[in-house]
C-alpha cells in the first residue's frame, strides 16, 4: 500500500499523467496516419459478415477547396522565396542595447547552467529510460497479469526511528464479482516480520455489504512503552517501578508478537449511515527487546516491572467483538474539490466491543467503547476549512484483565501529534483537535493544527487539568482518488520537535481491530 502510494506519487510527478511513447502512439493520435493517403481498407462487408478485403490506396484529399483559398503545391510556390527571405529586409534594425547587454548575465550564468546540466542529468536520464524502455509497463508486465488483476510485487517503506521495511505483496483483485485476495510478507522497520492474508467480498453479496476475512502475524521488536498515565517524562528511575502505581514516564522499548484472525462486515444501512461488525481472535506475546534492536538503556525491564504488566509474562489470547455505528456526511463541497479532501459535513461514530480470553493464558475480560465526532467547516473555496474533532476511547474492566498494550494510547502521527507514538496510555483517553487546512495548489494542502488531550485512569477521573497540548503544521498530498501522505512538524508544551510522515489520513477513523 505504501509503496503503491509512493509509486503513484512518483509517477504523478514524473509523467504528469500516463506516459506513452510518441513513436508507438502516433498511429493512434487523431489525424495520425501510417501511410500516405487514406489507409487501404475494406470496401464492404460480404454477406457472410466477414470483414471485407482491401481497397487500393486513394490519393489524399486536397486540403483547400479550389476557388476558396490558396491550394498550394510544390509547383505553385516554386518561384516564391524561402521562409527566411520573406521579411524582405534590405537593412536590418541593429540589435538593441538590451540584447547586447545580455552577454553579461549570459557569461555570469554559464557555470550555473553547467551545474544545472550535471545535477539534472541523472533525472533526465532516468525519465528517458523510464519511457524509452517503458519501465512502468514492464513493471506491470513482470509483476501483474495481462488484465492487471493479479500481481505479485515488492513493497517497501521507511519509518523514522525504525528503518526500512521490505517485502512482497500478492493481490488478486477480481476473484469473483470483484472479491479480492491480498497477501503480504515483509521484514524490517517496526516489524521484524509481518505476514498477512486478506479476503474481501467485493460485490459478492451486494454493493451494500462488504465482508472481509484476515489473518495476520506481526513480530514487532521495539514498540514504545512510557508507562501508564499522564506522567511527565523522566530520564530514568532508580529501580523498576510498577507503572500502575508510579506515573513516571521513561522511554523504553519492548518486543511483541501479534497474531489475529479476524472477520469484518461493513453494512451500508441507508444514506450516510453505516455499521461495521468486527470479530477477531487475537494472540499476543511480549518480551524484552533484543539487545541489537535498541540501545541498552531503553530496555523495558530497566524501568518497569514486567510482572506488573498484564499479559507481559505469559502472553494473552482472546476474542474481540465490536459493533460500530457511523454517520458520515463528510464530502467535498463541489466537483472541483477533491473527494479525498472533504470540506463539509459530520462524522459521528460510536463503537463498543468486548474482549474475552479463551482461557489458555492470562485472563482477559474488558469492554472497549468510544466516540469519534468530527465536523468540517468550509471557510472558502478550493477549499480552506476547519476540521474539528473530539475523540474519546476507554476500556472498562479490572486492571489485571486488560492487557497493557490494549490500553487506549495517545501520541504519534494521528492522535496527539507533537508527542512520540504511544507516549501516553491508560484506561481512558480524551482528545480534542482543531486543524486548519488550506489548498496550496494541485494535489497539495497545507495545514496547521492544535491537539489537546490526555489519558485518565477512569471516566470518573476526567477533568480539564494537566492537558497535554501539541501543535504544528505540515503539508498533505492527495490525488482526486486517494490520499497519498502527509508530512508534519509538531511540538508540544513539553517541548521537543517531532517530524511525522504518515500514509494514513489523520481524520479517518480506523477499525480497532486493524489498529491493533
Amino acid at each position: 500500500m505504501r509503496v503503491g502510494k509512493a509509486l503513484a506519487l512518483a509517477l504523478a510527478l514524473a509523467s504528469v499523467g500516463p506516459g506513452v511513447v510518441r513513436a508507438q502512439q502516433s498511429g493512434s493520435k487523431p489525424g495520425a496516419s501510417a501511410k500516405p493517403g487514406p489507409a487501404s481498407g475494406p470496401a464492404s462487408v460480404p454477406p457472410d459478415g466477414q470483414p471485407p478485403g482491401e481497397k487500393p490506396v486513394q490519393k489524399p484529399p486536397k486540403r483547400e477547396q479550389p476557388g476558396q483559398a490558396q491550394a498550394h503545391d510544390a509547383a505553385s510556390v516554386a518561384g516564391a522565396p524561402t521562409p527566411d527571405q520573406a521579411r524582405g529586409i534590405a537593412r536590418a534594425e541593429p540589435d538593441g542595447a538590451g540584447n547586447k547587454l545580455r552577454v553579461i548575465p549570459r557569461i555570469v550564468l554559464f557555470p550555473a547552467r553547467v551545474l544545472l546540466a550535471v545535477v539534472d542529468a541523472p533525472f533526465r536520464g532516468g525519465f528517458w529510460l523510464y519511457e524509452r524502455y517503458q519501465l512502468r509497463n514492464r513493471f506491470k508486465a513482470i509483476f501483474f497479469n495481462d488484465t492487471g488483476t493479479v500481481g505479485l510485487y515488492p513493497v517497501a517503506f521507511v519509518e523514522t526511528g525504525f528503518g526500512l521495511n521490505a517485502g512482497l505483496r500478492f493481490i488478486h483483485r477480481d476473484l469473483y464479482r470483484k472479491a479480492s485476495l491480498k497477501a503480504r510478507a515483509s521484514f524490517g522497520g517496526p516489524f521484524q516480520q509481518i505476514f498477512a492474508v486478506k479476503l474481501g467480498s467485493g460485490e459478492l453479496f451486494s454493493d451494500q455489504l462488504e465482508v472481509g476475512l484476515e489473518a495476520e502475524y506481526e513480530a514487532r521488536p521495539k514498540d514504545r512503552f512510557f508507562g501508564i498515565g499522564n506522567g511527565d517524562t523522566v530520564e530514568a528511575v532508580p529501580a523498576p517501578v510498577d507503572p500502575y502505581e508510579d506515573p513516571a514516564a521513561v522511554d523504553t522499548r519492548f518486543r511483541q508478537t501479534v497474531s489475529h484472525l479476524s472477520a469484518g462486515a461493513d453494512l451500508h444501512v441507508a444514506g450516510p449511515l453505516s455499521a461495521r461488525l468486527s470479530s477477531a481472535l487475537v494472540w499476543k506475546t511480549f518480551d524484552q527487546s533484543e539487545a541489537g534492536d535498541i540501545p541498552a538503556d531503553k530496555a523495558l525491564d530497566l524501568s518497569y516491572d514486567p510482572a506488573a504488566l498484564p499479559g507481559f509474562v505469559d502472553g494473552v489470547s482472546y476474542s474481540y467483538n465490536e459493533l460500530e455505528l457511523r454517520l458520515d456526511t463528510r464530502s467535498a463541497a463541489d466537483r472541483y474539490e477533491m473527494s479525498t479532501l472533504p470540506s463539509t459535513g459530520w462524522l459521528l461514530s460510536g463503537f463498543g466491543g468486548l474482549a474475552r480470553d479463551f482461557g489458555t493464558r492470562e485472563r482477559v475480560d474488558y469492554l472497549r467503547y468510544g466516540v469519534d465526532l468530527q465536523r468540517y467547516i468550509r471557510l472558502a473555496q478550493n477549499p480552506r476549512l476547519i476540521a474539528l474533532r473530539v475523540y474519546v476511547e476507554g476500556v472498562s474492566g479490572d486492571d489485571d484483565e486488560i492487557p497493557f498494550v490494549d490500553l487506549p494510547r495517545l501520541g504519534g502521527p494521528l492522535l496527539l501529534r507533537g508527542y512520540l507514538r504511544d507516549r501516553f496510555r491508560d484506561r481512558v483517553l480524551g482528545l480534542a483537535s482543531i486543524e486548519y487546512q488550506f489548498d496550496i495548489g494541485h494535489m497539495f494542502t497545507g495545514f496547521l493544527f492544535g491537539d489537546a488531550g490526555r489519558v485518565y485512569p477512569a471516566l470518573s477521573d476526567v477533568k480539564i487539568e494537566d492537558i497535554r497540548l501539541a501543535y504544528g503544521g505540515g503539508l498533505q498530498m492527495q490525488t482526486p482518488k486517494s490520499f497519498i501522505g502527509r508530512i508534519s512538524v509538531a511540538t508540544s508544551t513539553d517541548g521537543g520537535l517531532i517530524f511525522n510522515f504518515s500514509f494514513d489520513p489523520v481524520y479517518d477513523p480506523k477499525a480497532r481491530v486493524e489498529r491493533k
Binding site: V20, G41, Q65, Q134
Partner: protein, 569 residues
C-alpha cells in the same frame, strides 16, 4: 487587470530601451529607425515545399522527459542562457505570416462564408453513411477507449469517445476548435462527430490490441464490448463518438517546441520564433485550449498533390478535445487556464499566506449545461492565461506583436460564424450553443481589447496618389470592432530613406468603421520615393506605440505607390 506579464516585460524593455535610446541619441538616430525593406510587394507565400528525397526521422515524444524539461530543466536553462529577445521570424514585410506548410491565411485575409465555417477542412464527408466500420486495432496507450477503424470507402480514422464524466464534451470541443483553428489558418485533420451502434463495428480478422511496448495481441469481441462498457451508451443503444481522419502522409512525430527539425532543409526558422506558434497563444487563450504540447502537433511527410516525385513536410495541430474548458471540467480542476499544473510561485504565495492569498480562478464554476465545461468570460484574463503545463516554449516567447497577430485573426469571426462553429458540436442541450457562443464572443472581445491596447492597432494600410500628394489610409481595429469608444486621433510625420524628416505632418480621426486617412504626403525624392511614415494613435489621452509604414513607388507600372513594409513599435 492582471497585465503583469507584459507589464513586467515592458518595464525591462523600458530600462533597456532607455539605455538604447541613450545610445541612439548619441548617434542621432532617426525616429524612422534603420530598418529598410526591399522595394517589392510583400511576400504572400513562401516556398518550404522543396523536395526531400529522404523522409525525416520520426521525432519520438518522451512525455515524462518533455514535461520535466518543460517544468524545470529547460525552463531554467533557457532563462540562464539569456537568449536575444527576438521578434517572430516567419513573417513578411507587413508582419504577417505568409502561406506555407505551417499556415494558410484564411479568415485573416478574406471573409469566410458560413459554408466554409460549417465544413472547415472536412472534404471527405462523414463516415456515418459508410457503415459498418471495420476495427483494425485498438488505440495505442490504452488510457482512453479508442479504435482505429476503416469505413466502407477505405478511409481510415481514429474513433474516440467522450469521458463518461462529461458526455458530449470532448467530442464537441474537438470539432468546434477544429473548425475555428482551421478558419484561423492552421492545418488540422478532418474530424467528425458520429453516431453509431455496436453492430456498426465489425472486427477485422487481423484486428489487434496494441500496448505501449509495441506488443500486439489479437482483438476479441469481448475486448470490444469491454471497451464500450466504459463509455456512455444511449438507452436506445446509440453511441456518440469522434472520428479523426488519418492525415495524408507518413507521420514523423510532433514538431519540436524549440529549434528546427534538423533533417528537414525546409524547416529553417526555429519553432519558438515562428509567428504561427507564438501567436497561437492569443487564439488558444480565447478558446481555452489549454492542452498545448508537442504531442498535440503532428508533422507528416507528404507526397505533393500534383507531383508524386516531390515530398515535403506538412505541420498540423491535432487533438482539440480539451478545449473550451473541458480539461478543467474533466480533471476537476478549477484553475486550468489560470495557472500551471505545478506553479511554484502560486504555491508559495498560498503557503506563506496560509491560504489567505485569493487566487484569480477562485469563484469559477461551470454552467449546468450538458456538454459544456468550465468556460467563462468574467474571470478570463488574456494577459495571464496559461496552458495546463508550462512545457510549450513558443507560448513563453510570444510578445505583444504575436498576440496582436492572433487577436487580429480571432476578432474577425462574426457572431454568426462563431455560432455556426459551435453548432458543429451537436449539443443535445439547447442551452449549450447560446451559452458557448456568447461566452466565446465575450472572450473574443476581451482578448482583442487586451492585445490591441499593447500595440498601435492599425491595419490594412493602403497608399495612393492624390492631387495633393499621397494618401495613406488604414483601419483602426479597436474602433472597427468597437472595443473602445473613446475619442481617437492620429498624427503622422514622414522621413526619407536616410531617416531625415520630410516637411509634412498629417492628422486624422477615424470614421465609424475605423477607417482613416492622412493626406498630402510628399514622397521623398530618392530611392524610388522611399518614405517612412510614422503613425501615432492618441486614445484616452495617451499615445500608443507608433507604427512605421514604409512606402515606395513601383519601378514598373507607372510608379504606383505601395506599402512595402511596416514596423510596429
Amino acid at each position: 487587470m492582471a497585465t503583469h506579464r507584459h507589464t513586467r516585460a515592458g518595464a525591462t524593455a523600458l530600462v533597456l530601451g532607455a539605455l538604447g535610446l541613450g545610445v541612439a541619441a548619441c548617434g542621432g538616430a532617426s525616429p524612422a529607425g534603420q530598418l529598410r525593406f526591399h522595394n517589392q510587394a510583400p511576400i504572400r507565400v513562401v516556398n518550404d515545399r522543396k523536395n526531400l528525397d529522404k523522409k525525416p526521422d520520426e521525432a519520438v515524444f518522451y512525455k515524462a522527459l518533455y514535461h520535466f524539461d518543460g517544468f524545470w530543466h529547460k525552463r531554467i536553462d533557457r532563462w540562464m542562457k539569456m537568449p536575444r529577445v527576438q521578434r517572430a521570424q516567419s513573417v513578411n514585410s507587413l508582419d504577417e505570416v505568409p502561406d506555407s506548410t505551417w499556415f494558410t491565411n484564411r479568415i485573416g485575409a478574406r471573409d469566410l462564408s458560413l459554408d466554409e465555417i460549417r465544413s472547415g477542412p472536412n472534404q471527405t464527408g462523414t463516415p456515418e453513411d459508410h457503415k459498418p466500420w471495420v476495427i483494425k486495432s485498438s488505440k495505442v496507450g490504452g488510457v482512453t477507449v479508442g479504435f482505429v477503424i476503416v469505413d466502407q470507402r477505405g478511409v481510415k480514422y481514429v474513433l474516440k469517445f467522450d469521458d463518461p464524466v462529461g458526455p458530449e464534451m470532448e467530442t464537441a470541443a474537438d470539432v468546434v476548435l477544429q473548425r475555428l483553428l482551421w478558419a484561423c489558418g492552421f492545418n488540422v485533420p478532418e474530424d467528425y462527430i458520429v453516431h453509431f451502434r455496436r453492430e456498426d463495428l465489425v472486427r477485422a480478422p487481423d484486428a489487434s490490441i496494441k500496448d505501449p511496448m509495441g506488443n500486439e495481441t489479437p482483438m476479441t469481441e469481448k475486448f470490444i464490448d469491454m471497451q464500450l462498457a466504459k463509455i456512455n451508451v444511449g438507452k436506445d443503444g446509440s453511441i456518440r463518438g469522434l472520428v479523426s481522419q488519418f492525415i495524408p502522409g507518413v507521420p514523423i512525430g510532433g514538431y519540436k517546441r524549440d529549434g528546427v527539425r534538423e533533417d528537414d532543409p525546409n524547416d529553417t526558422i526555429p519553432h519558438q520564433l515562428r509567428r504561427e506558434t507564438r501567436g497561437l497563444y492569443a487564439i488558444n487563450s480565447w478558446l481555452d485550449h489549454t492542452d498545448m504540447k508537442e504531442d498535440n502537433t503532428l508533422d507528416t511527410y507528404i507526397e505533393d498533390p500534383r507531383n508524386p516525385d516531390v515530398h515535403y513536410v506538412d505541420h498540423y495541430l491535432i487533438d482539440f478535445g480539451k478545449g473550451l474548458g473541458t480539461q478543467g471540467y474533466l480533471n476537476q480542476r478549477r484553475w486550468v487556464g489560470f495557472t500551471y499544473l505545478v506553479d511554484f510561485g502560486q504555491m508559495a504565495a498560498s503557503l506563506f499566506t496560509l491560504g489567505l492569498y485569493h487566487r484569480p480562478w477562485e469563484g469559477r464554476t461551470s454552467p449546468d449545461i450538458l456538454g459544456v465545461g468550465i468556460l467563462e468570460s468574467e474571470k478570463y484574463d488574456p494577459s495571464s492565461w496559461k496552458t495546463y503545463t508550462p512545457s510549450y516554449f513558443p507560448f513563453h516567447d510570444h510578445d505583444r506583436f504575436d498576440g496582436f497577430w492572433g487577436a487580429k485573426i480571432l476578432i474577425r469571426f462574426t457572431r454568426e460564424q462563431i455560432r455556426l462553429a459551435v453548432e458543429q458540436g451537436q449539443f443535445s442541450d439547447p442551452r449549450a450553443v447560446p451559452y458557448l457562443t456568447e461566452t466565446l464572443i465575450q472572450r473574443q472581445r476581451k482578448t482583442a481589447r487586451y492585445w490591441f491596447a499593447l500595440v498601435n492597432p492599425l491595419d490594412r494600410f493602403e497608399v495612393s496618389r492624390g492631387d495633393r500628394g499621397a494618401r495613406l489610409c488604414f483601419e483602426d481595429l479597436t474602433v472597427r470592432y468597437k472595443l473602445d469608444g473613446e475619442p481617437t486621433h492620429y498624427s503622422a510625420r514622414a522621413f526619407d530613406y536616410d531617416g531625415q524628416a520630410l516637411d509634412w505632418t498629417g492628422r486624422a480621426v477615424p470614421g465609424p468603421d475605423g477607417r482613416a486617412c492622412v493626406e498630402g504626403v510628399r514622397p521623398a525624392a530618392s530611392h524610388d520615393g522611399y518614405t517612412v511614415i510614422e503613425l501615432r494613435t492618441e486614445r484616452r489621452g495617451a499615445d500608443l506605440p507608433p507604427t512605421l509604414i514604409h512606402i515606395a513607388a513601383e519601378r514598373r507600372g507607372g510608379g504606383r505607390l505601395r506599402v512595402i513594409g511596416l514596423r510596429r513599435l
